[in-house]
């Protein structure tokens, strides 16, 4: 492990000051589950590590029927998984966070840290995109909000600018009652998904009114599959439509070969799993 200085600011203002002072030499640490590994492997070599652990209320989870869900960036995966309001109003999030790595990691890793890392293999982003989530990015210059689907730029690259940190995730009141989340991990459940599919949809008498579909582990970012959504939106959800939806989704992804499977295989699995996810979500609407 490399040498570094460790700082624990107690407010966001203080954090922004430290980020400005140290610039590129600094990295922010929340749960540390991915940062420490990258530092051990010398992929990241910050001189200063700034912890967000002492920032008050940074892990708060609140809900309001009109406004929806607000999750502080410091909330741990396990907190979100076990939150009663999440379970009641956003069952897809409960299910998704239940599948992130395993409890030891969920007790440590934070949602803000997870999204900020920009790792396309992780689970929460797809389900949050399927729920139209937006993120608040803050710096000494103020704050801005961004739809989550626009936050991911490339492998390990997000819309965060130097000096900026992700402070809050906002999920509007759930619009579509049907949902499904599939984390396809043919090996250990502890592993990253080979293919991850999150879908929310609304259907009336078997016709899909609206739908959001997002996938992880199959492109350089977590992606929303808009053209596949368009296949289903406004149409009766027949087997043929769902099959077509899967086919189209598989053209919106760009998986790579890795130990979990070849790019061909993953593309094929997108077809299968998108169809299965849509079927499962439709069942939940009836």
């Amino acid at each position: 492990m490399i040498k570094f200085e460790y700082l624990e600011p107690t407010s966001l203002q203080e954090t922004f000051g430290l980020l400005e002072k140290h610039g590129d030499d600094a990295r922010v640490i929340a749960g540390g589950t991915s940062l420490l590994i990258m530092m051990r492997q010398r992929l990241l070599m910050p001189k200063v590590v700034i912890s967000l652990a002492r920032i008050p209320h940074f892990d708060r989870i609140t809900y309001d029927a009109a406004d929806g869900l607000r999750i502080g960036a410091g909330a741990r995966h396990r907190d979100i998984e076990l939150s009663a309001i999440v379970k009641e109003h956003y069952p897809i999030l409960h299910e998704t966070f239940h599948k992130v790595a395993q409890p030891r990691i969920r007790n440590m890793g934070t949602l803000g840290g997870n999204l900020s890392a920009g790792d396309p293999l992780t689970d929460p982003g797809a389900s949050l995109i399927a729920l139209d989530a937006e993120v608040t990015l803050s710096s000494s210059g103020g704050q801005r909000t961004l739809p989550l689907e626009e936050f991911f730029i490339d492998y390990y690259e997000t819309a965060l600018k130097p000096g900026e940190i992700l402070t809050e995730i906002h999920v509007p009141p759930a619009q579509r009652p049907g949902w499904a989340h599939i984390k396809f991990t043919p090996r250990s459940v502890e592993d990253f998904a080979t293919v991850g599919v999150a879908i929310t949809l609304q259907a009336v008498n078997g016709t899909c009114k609206d739908v959001r579909l997002a996938l992880n582990s199959v492109a350089s970012t977590i992606v929303r599959a808009k053209r596949a959504e368009a296949v289903l939106r406004g149409r009766p959800a027949t087997d043929a439509t769902l099959r077509e939806m899967g086919e189209i989704a598989s053209t919106e992804v760009d998986p790579t070969d890795d130990n979990r499977g070849s790019s061909d295989y993953k593309r094929e699995m997108v077809k299968v799993l998108v169809r299965r996810a849509a079927q499962e979500a439709l069942q939940r609407t009836t």
């Binding site: 395993q102 043919p186 250990s188 130990n259 499977g261 699995m269 799993l273």
Partner: protein, 808 residues
């Protein structure tokens, strides 16, 4: 007398481990101890042009560096072992590479600093210049003349080729009704013990004495390795608790023991090295990828009359374990079958991958894979059931002891009984019916039934069979010792010849000693760690479930029997009776029925160490006995003669396995619904311990079949250096293995015991392959290659062959 043998008793290892008081090598700290890091190759194949540690040594906290020049100048190569005996020209293998690196992670130097962080920094500061060479990754490519060559001395990557034939193989194939052929493949994997390699070396220059603490499995390999490489005579090897072995900690670890010892000699201080997980995954040793071209000569009724096969072994970048996976085929060459005509030819091919090591079963899973896949194939071609074909060819219980065509002698076993017991347990016919109904509904259920022997014991002379030019056996049979002492306070202390790594040596030996000496296991303490200065060890000293049952139990049995005689003699003298009148119960020696004629162990202890007057003249003072055991029935064929018949191992456990799986055609995911074993491990000394060995070895074989494995890029870069990338199974995916026992005790061991360590790892890959193939019957698919990753199964089910991308 069987108060404890065969019973559930309280674990003696458990209490210290559940409280965190196990003592592993990493838990030891010596005054002034330095911390080492190993310098490793980032290239699969390269010439080392120069190594300059100057920058690193500028830091005053960096104390010593070992470079390839140091290795070449201050150490000697290891003596070529029996697995390198077939080389046409001998090749020097040092503890680290000296001129060329031949796999990613190959060690060629080391650094010691006052703390690990500084050592890590120093490693980065050592300037190394490489001349990269063309990597050799694929076995078939490696054998072509156009390939780059790993060892210039050999001029080829086919480092060894040889063959053996038993019976009349030509004749069998000529008279066959049909010849069934198949190419089969088993991949690279390992048991990846949770505790990585750890070494502490402390050299005392004044007395020229080297002490090492090491998490090793076989003391002899370390002891000999240090002597050969460093030329030292005074060596002490201490092996504390070992956090898992499985064969991984036998061979390659000696290199690191030498490198760390060199650092200690250079610095004059104790040095500790702790391997990183990624180092272990890339360089800690892999089971060999084996490719087979198999042919079976059969009669139309399903009788197998001959087997011949070629085996291509991808042995990686070292010659020291060149033939180990091939020569182990002699151990279970006949599996459970009475086939008399068998021929095999081996090709050992060096590649720029991690060297192969003796992982749990060492080539035996491959041999079993050949037999059991071919039996299924025969059934398919002859339109018989896989059960019929197996039954037709099984060795019968009334043929025991059974001499196999290659010279093994099976001590005991009821293979038809094991198979029948399994079929009854899984309600085979009902299950087939259910499978048919489910298939109609679109569910793909598969049933795989296989059977296997699990040999135990050791015989280094085996390897002479494949090297006829070898004149002297590299040792033969096995020896290990045990010492037992009745202490002054009436308790017993045991000193075993072997270190322990989870096979419950302490619990099991205490059960045996307690029964033989008429006391209880709680009054027996076993000394740990292993200490080469104190432990009564021989060549078979190892933490190996494969050897423990024979040599350690044999030695404890012998020592306890001897001590019992002494105890009775001393008691008889003091009670003024004949020893034959005495019994021992709960630590009291007595004449049955008499209230006065009795004497306790504590009283005897005080006499034996204290009171010459009460010791008979013809009895040695003290109450201690040592026994070195060799297997008394090791002949004939202990050393191979002209016919090359050899006892490769000595006891033969067996097991029938059933895997019941469900395959998702659309994703290729395989779900194990049930996994059952009916096993024969001979007399079971402790059912919980034996079951634990069976559960663990089965779980590993299943995980191997379903996808865990090492993968290399076409450039020879390892792509699996973490547990996640490697695909290690957790509790969530591991099926709940069910075990039943149907023991046939060995007539030749002290208690009828047989081996139970490698056990279920031998047939389980074959069982899974059989079950998955069975599930895919509607698609007319053959399963030949492991691993059965979801992608591989999906490709099979959808007839979508994979382009060659990566290499296992």
């Amino acid at each position: 007398m069987d108060n404890f043998i065969g019973k559930r008793t309280r674990s003696k290892e458990g209490p210290r481990h559940v409280t965190g008081r196990g003592l592993y090598t990493d838990d030891f700290r010596l005054p002034g101890m330095l911390h080492a890091m190993i310098l490793r190759s980032p290239h699969a194949h390269a010439r080392i042009v120069s190594v300059d540690p100057g920058e690193a040594l500028k830091n005053p906290n960096v104390v010593a560096v070992v470079t390839p020049q140091d290795i070449k100048q201050t150490t000697k190569p290891f003596k070529p072992g029996r697995y390198a005996a077939g080389l046409k020209r001998s090749i020097d293998e040092y503890a680290g590479a000296t001129e060329k690196v031949r796999y990613v992670g190959e060690p060629f130097g080391a650094v010691a600093a006052r703390d690990r962080g500084t050592a890590e920094d120093a490693l980065e500061q050592i300037q190394v210049e490489y001349e990269p060479l063309r990597p050799v990754v694929d076995v078939r490519e490696a054998m072509k003349p156009s390939s780059a060559v790993l060892f210039d001395e050999l001029g080829t990557n086919l480092a060894w080729n040889g063959s053996l034939s038993y019976g009349d193989v030509e004749g069998a194939f000529k008279s066959a009704d049909r010849v069934v052929k198949e190419n089969l493949k088993i991949h690279r994997y390992s048991s990846t013990p949770l505790e990585p390699f750890i070494v502490i070396a402390s050299y005392d220059a004044a007395s020229k004495r080297l002490t090492v603490w090491v998490t090793a499995q076989v003391p002899e390999v370390i002891y000999d390795g240090l002597r050969e490489a460093l030329g030292l005579q005074d060596i002490r090897v201490i092996i504390p608790d070992v956090g898992g072995g499985f064969g991984q900690k036998i061979h390659l670890i000696r290199k690191y023991v030498v490198l760390v010892s060199l650092l200690s000699m250079k610095s004059g201080r104790p040095v500790k090295w702790v391997e990183d997980r990624s180092e272990h995954m890339m360089a800690g040793g892999h089971a060999c990828a084996q490719e087979f071209e198999a042919e079976m000569a059969v009669k139309n009724d399903g009788t197998v009359i001959g087997l011949r096969f070629k085996e291509y072994d991808d042995v990686g970048g070292s010659i020291s374990t060149l033939t180990i996976h091939f020569t182990n085929k002699l151990n279970n060459l006949s599996n459970t079958y009475r086939v008399r005509n068998i021929a095999l030819e081996g090709f050992a091919v060096v590649t720029n991958k991690c060297p192969v090591i003796p992982n749990r079963g060492i080539g035996k899973p491959g041999m079993c894979y050949v037999w059991e896949r071919m039996m299924d194939r025969v059934a398919q071609e002859l339109n018989l059931t896989p059960i019929e074909v197996r039954r037709k060819n099984l060795i019968q219980p009334d043929e025991m002891p059974y001499a196999t065509p290659s010279g093994n002698v099976y001590d005991s076993g009821d293979y038809p009984g094991l198979l029948q017991g399994l079929l009854e347990k899984i309600e085979y016919d009902k299950l087939r019916e259910e499978q048919r109904r489910e298939r109609e509904k679109g569910r793909l259920i598969g049933i795989g039934v296989v059977i296997a022997v699990e040999p135990g014991g050791r015989n280094a002379a085996r390897d002479m069979a494949i090297f006829p030019e070898m004149k002297e056996p590299p040792g033969s049979g096995g020896v290990n010792g045990a010492k037992i002492k009745l202490e002054k306070n009436g308790t017993l202390s045991l000193h075993l010849g072997s270190p322990n790594c989870g096979q419950a040596h302490e619990t099991t030996t205490a059960q045996v000693a307690a029964d033989l000496l008429g006391t209880t296991p709680d009054k027996i303490s076993t000394s740990i760690p292993f200490d080469s200065d104190l432990s009564p060890w021989g060549v078979a000293a190892a933490n190996s479930g494969n050897n423990f049952h024979l040599y350690d139990i044999g030695a404890i049995h012998g020592a306890a029997t001897r001590l019992r005689e002494k105890v009775l003699k001393l008691a008889a003298h003091n009670l003024q009776v004949d020893p034959s009148e005495l019994t021992i119960e709960d630590g009291v020696v007595k004449v049955p029925g008499s209230a006065t004629k009795q004497i306790t162990f504590a009283e005897l202890g005080r006499i034996a160490y204290n009171n010459q007057h009460l010791i008979p003249d013809d009895l040695e003072a003290g109450l201690e006995a040592t026994y070195y055991y060799t297997f008394p029935h090791a002949k004939p064929n202990l050393v191979p003669g002209a016919e090359r018949l050899v006892r490769a191992q000595f006891t033969f456990s067996a097991g029938a396995h059933a895997a019941i799986v469900e395959v998702d055609k659309n994703t290729g995911a395989v779900h194990v619904l049930r996994y059952l074993i009916v096993g024969d491990n001979g007399t079971v000394i402790n059912p919980d311990v034996v079951n634990g060995q069976v559960f663990g070895s089965a779980a590993h074989g299943i995980a191997v079949a379903l996808g865990e494995g090492f993968i290399y890029s076409p450039e020879g870069q390892p792509l699996t250096v973490t547990y996640l990338d490697y695909g290690k199974c957790s509790a969530a995916e591991t099926p709940r293995v069910e075990v039943m026992h149907r023991p046939s005790p060995s007539p030749w061991t002290a208690l009828g015991q047989k081996a139970a360590g490698e056990g279920a790892a031998i047939p389980s890959p074959a069982a899974l392959a059989s079950a998955v193939e069975d599930a895919l019957t509607p698609f007319g698919v053959k399963v030949c290659d492991l691993p059965l990753t979801p992608e591989a199964v999906w490709r099979l089910a959808n007839h979508n062959p994979e382009s060659e991308r990566r290499s296992y």
